[in-house]
């Protein structure tokens, strides 16, 4: 692993030294502050109990579970297509992305492969859901820091992408479009041309945000050097996705694990950033949206023709076995460990969701941090409550 960079070390030491000076001057009593569960900044119902010493956090304890719906128990009493409907709602912003690893795991157990056209369309919708998900993050992190305008742009530009997803699948989010062996339907006429136009808009949105925010002095002061995560710590906590890549670890499931989506046929790159602070996490995600738009255009151009559903029986009985499939979801690495006993229902589905690990680092990360920076760090880690609580 790479050692913590000099710059990170210096920033950390400087912040600790500044705190020492303050703590010597004032005698304060500790206070326990309860952030959440209903709070505009917590993306849902996350409760964090922080013990404060003045303005600094001494200890932080996130309390998840306010959105715990018991997914893993519910999958044991639903058939495989019914489970597919349910798991759409785990990461409720990038919802097509939730279905893909589960369907791929079931296909692995059934030893069925989706036809090429279905794989290309799956990848297309996967990247579209990534765009829909991360554009909201880009606007949302800005509004947590006080920049209210970008979130309206984000909602407006998301509408175009949601329109696309809706015209193809029927649902703005929660499409429930993936089927074991392929997809439910083919794409409607004129969809490809419209997608390309929308990607132009998405690129314009990214440029707009970059001009508005990345050079902004306030944004830089509030995010640079805040919430630095060294790569070894990130790996031991199981951070994934853009959070890990912003700490300098060059790992992306799309490139490194071949699972049945067609990333090896596209020309794209993985973005990393060496700093590991909140700015890096924002920056990496912004570049990923641009990259996703680029990939969508390539996918539109190279879409092969053919059937969209392989030959599978009407009643899906998945043969006995265990399979693990993980993909690079918008939030991080999402994986399903499916245990099947040759039945209509899965025996056990372990849902490995990205935000669960991403938030487990919060007790470690929030020590010694000032209260406004708590909001910045939470916003930059980017979690969805449904992903934490399942």
């Amino acid at each position: 692993m790479t050692a913590i960079s000099e710059r990170q070390q210096r920033a950390y030491i400087a912040s600790q030294a500044a705190d020492m000076r303050v703590n010597v001057e004032l005698e304060t009593e500790g206070m326990t502050l309860n952030i959440g569960p209903q709070h505009p900044a917590t993306h849902g119902t996350l409760r964090i109990i922080v013990k404060l010493d003045g303005e600094q956090v001494v200890a932080a304890d996130p309390v998840p579970g306010y959105m715990h719906r018991g997914y893993e128990k519910l999958t044991e009493v639903r058939t495989f297509p019914q489970v597919n409907t349910l798991i759409n709602r785990i990461d409720w912003l990038g919802s097509f992305a939730n279905e893909v690893p589960f369907i791929l795991a079931a296909e692995q157990l059934m030893e069925v492969e989706a036809p090429p056209r279905a794989q290309w369309i799956r990848t297309l919708l996967f990247e579209l859901s990534r765009i829909a998900n991360v554009t909201l993050f880009l606007g949302d992190m800005a509004v947590q820091l006080g920049a209210v305008t970008p979130v309206f742009y984000a909602f407006r530009d998301r509408e175009y992408v949601l329109n696309l997803i809706e015209s193809a699948t029927g649902g703005r989010f929660h499409p429930n479009f993936d089927r074991i062996g392929g997809l439910k339907d083919d794409l409607p006429k004129g969809w490809i041309a419209e997608t390309k136009q929308v990607m132009v808009k998405v690129n314009a949105f990214c440029d707009e945000l970059e001009a508005l925010l990345l050079g902004n002095e306030i944004f830089n002061v509030r995010t640079r050097g805040i919430g630095v995560i060294p790569p070894e710590v990130a790996l031991s906590y199981g951070l994934s996705g853009a959070n890990l890549r912003a700490s300098g670890v060059d790992w992306d499931h799309r490139r490194d694990t071949q699972v049945g989506l067609v990333y090896d046929k596209l020309d794209w790159k993985v973005w990393t950033h060496p700093d590991g602070d909140s700015f890096a996490r924002y920056w990496v995600r912004l570049q990923e949206v641009r990259e996703a738009a680029k990939m969508v255009i390539q996918l539109c151009d190279g879409l092969p023709s053919g059937p969209i559903m392989a030959k599978v029986p009407r009643i899906i009985k998945v043969p006995e076995g265990e399979a693990w499939v993980a993909t690079e979801n918008p939030l991080g690495e999402m994986g399903y460990y499916v245990v099947s006993k040759g039945d209509l229902v899965p025996f056990r589905v372990k849902i490995r969701s990205a935000s669960f690990n991403n938030i487990s680092i919060v007790p470690w990360l929030l020590r010694g941090v000032y209260v406004p920076d708590v909001i910045t760090i939470l916003a930059s880690l980017y979690f969805i409550l449904g992903d934490i609580d399942r």
Binding site: M1, P64, G65, H68, G70, E72, K73, L74, E76, V77, T79, P81, Q82, Q108, E111, E232, V233, L235, S236, Y237, G238, V249, W251, D256, T257, P313, R314, I315, E320, G321, E322, A323, W324, A326, E333, G335, Y337, V339, K341, D343, L344, V345, R348, K350, R352, F356, N357, S360, I361, W364, D389
Partner: protein, 223 residues
């Protein structure tokens, strides 16, 4: 001790050097700690270790084999459910004198198993892009396993979740308490003998609109 199956089915490589080296590394350090292993070439690797060797297996995987990315840690309960749907239940409600059926004999999955609960964890090497699924039988009498929190920070929350969902204690965990459920919740929900009360109190409301569950050879009438 360890047996690896190779599979030539769909163009996968006949031998998987990288994953074989992982198995050999583990066996070399743990010796009798490795009970069984299962390798799907080009796909995945499962290794089952004894309960005593659980912590060492994690340490060896992280330090020696380079699998420093902690993916997840969870539990599989192999008892077949007395309540859940299975191939021969036509409706899954237990109203009016229908008793829960006797669970079928317990069978285990990949790499075998002896006890009801099995810990499963996944560690991954982000540079060589290979991972290992580690399984361990949880002793039935004590339901206690060693903790991984000193090895991986992320294991903290995963072990808390395993504790509240299955009732497995982890010796040495800094604060083993409930993660998801409210404080006064009784029972361990993900155990197979924990019933979903809503399904027992009244039948699924959609049952009136849905065609009956098809028989084995029946291809008409879908879900």
């Amino acid at each position: 001790m360890s047996s690896t199956d190779t599979d030539n089915a769909d163009g996968a490589p006949a031998t998987d050097e990288l994953r074989n080296s992982l198995v050999e590394g583990l066996t070399g350090e743990l010796h009798d700690g490795v009970v069984a292993s299962h390798l799907l070439p080009g796909r995945d690797l499962w290794v089952r270790v004894t309960a005593d060797a659980w912590e060492t297996a994690g340490r060896v995987s992280r330090d020696l084999l380079g699998c420093s990315y902690f993916c997840y840690l969870s539990v599989i309960d192999w008892l077949p459910s007395p309540f859940g749907r299975s191939m021969d239940s036509s409706v899954d409600n237990l109203l009016e004198g229908v008793t829960a059926k006797e669970p079928e004999p317990m069978t285990h999955g990949v790499a075998g198993g002896d006890t009801r609960f099995q810990l499963i964890a996944r560690l991954y090497d982000v540079h060589r892009h290979v991972g290992v699924n580690l399984k361990a039988d949880v002793p039935d009498d004590t339901l206690t396993m060693a903790t991984w929190t000193k090895l991986f920070g992320g294991a903290n929350w995963h072990e808390r979740e395993a504790y509240e969902m299955f009732g497995i204690t982890f010796a040495g965990h800094p604060s083993l308490r409930k993660l998801y459920l409210p404080g006064d919740f009784e029972g361990y929900p993900l155990r197979k003998d924990f019933p979903l009360l809503s399904r027992m109190v009244k039948p699924w409301p959609g049952i009136v609109d849905v065609e009956g569950m098809p028989g084995v050879a029946d291809d008409e009438g879908g879900e």
